[in-house]
Symmetry: C2
Subunit: 184 residues, 2 copies
């Protein structure tokens, strides 16, 4: 299965950290690419830096024309899932979505253009309460991949050895000038 | 099962949006309370506003002394799970954690005090790659509650009717001056 994440509605400065989290989640949960429908080299640089140190082949493109990307993705046989609190219940549509091989997952910021609702194959609510596009994307991908993505190995300069106490990091080359984190 | 989320390492201003997302995720994924180990009335207000409009009994306390909270929680029979990319694999410890009735989930920002690793009953990695505390919390709670939390009903002024296209919101009272969102 190949997954691409499309990030819409990004406002440079204000959304920099949230969009970076969206990109990190996309990578960590098995997507191969994030398309950013805004120009923000800072987000691209910070994600590429993580890829360089932590491995994998995750790619980022910014300043994309999202309507063209959606159209081309669908024309080449992919399906588009728009995550929105207003959408169908996740549990009711997941099996249909998982039957597809190439999936674009669109996540907006506070507002998305109304035509996205019509262009997507599915509008899906990861719950129907307000919360976070970062969380919605993570839970969607975790369920899509049935939890298997978290045990995937990335071949990077840095590698964590899971441990019940403290921190164990293996460094494979003399690069790496600090460690980003998932929550501490 | 009763779940409390403890948010550490919050820096006012810089982390306001991320911490608000942490709180919204806590509420939407079934936690009953968030404790914030920093003083930030803005975060409290914005979460309380969501509770008022969207329902449920989610509570927020800020400016807590986290070590005391952790100690008291454990003394009263609860267990503490610290989410960190360095921790044990989620899939290996989830069954042990789920056997407990009262669970505190601690999520940090970029750095957490080192003693937390020793005070927690489990240090758990939602994957061992850098991503996002918002995502880590959501996936942890989704798996903890085996996906059931997303179909829970909240009794609020506003209620979404899940729909494949567009937006259907039922308003039960004349309050509500706009709708927060989970990703558009």
């Amino acid at each position: 299965m190949r997954v691409v994440v499309l990030r819409l509605g990004h406002r440079p400065e204000r959304d920099m950290r949230i969009t970076t989290h969206v990109g990190l989640v996309a990578r960590a949960f098995g997507a191969e690419e994030m398309l950013l429908a805004a120009r923000d080299q800072g987000v691209v640089d910070s994600l590429e830096d993580v890829v360089k140190r932590w491995g994998g082949s995750f790619a980022v493109r910014h300043d994309v024309r999202w309507r063209e990307e959606v159209r081309e993705f669908r024309e080449s046989g992919g399906v588009v899932v728009h995550l929105t609190m207003y959408g169908s219940r996740l549990s009711e549509v997941m099996d249909q979505i998982r039957a597809h091989d190439r999936i674009m997952v669109a996540v907006g910021a506070e507002k998305v253009p109304a035509d996205l609702y019509g262009m997507a194959d599915w509008n899906v609510g990861v719950g129907n309460q307000p919360h976070s596009e970062v969380a919605a994307l993570a839970v969607f991908l975790d369920r899509l991949m049935e939890g298997k993505e978290l045990d995937r190995e990335f071949q990077g300069q840095l590698k964590i050895v899971p441990t019940p106490r403290g921190k164990q990091v293996v460094e494979r080359s003399p690069a790496g000038d600090g460690m980003p984190d998932q929550g501490d």
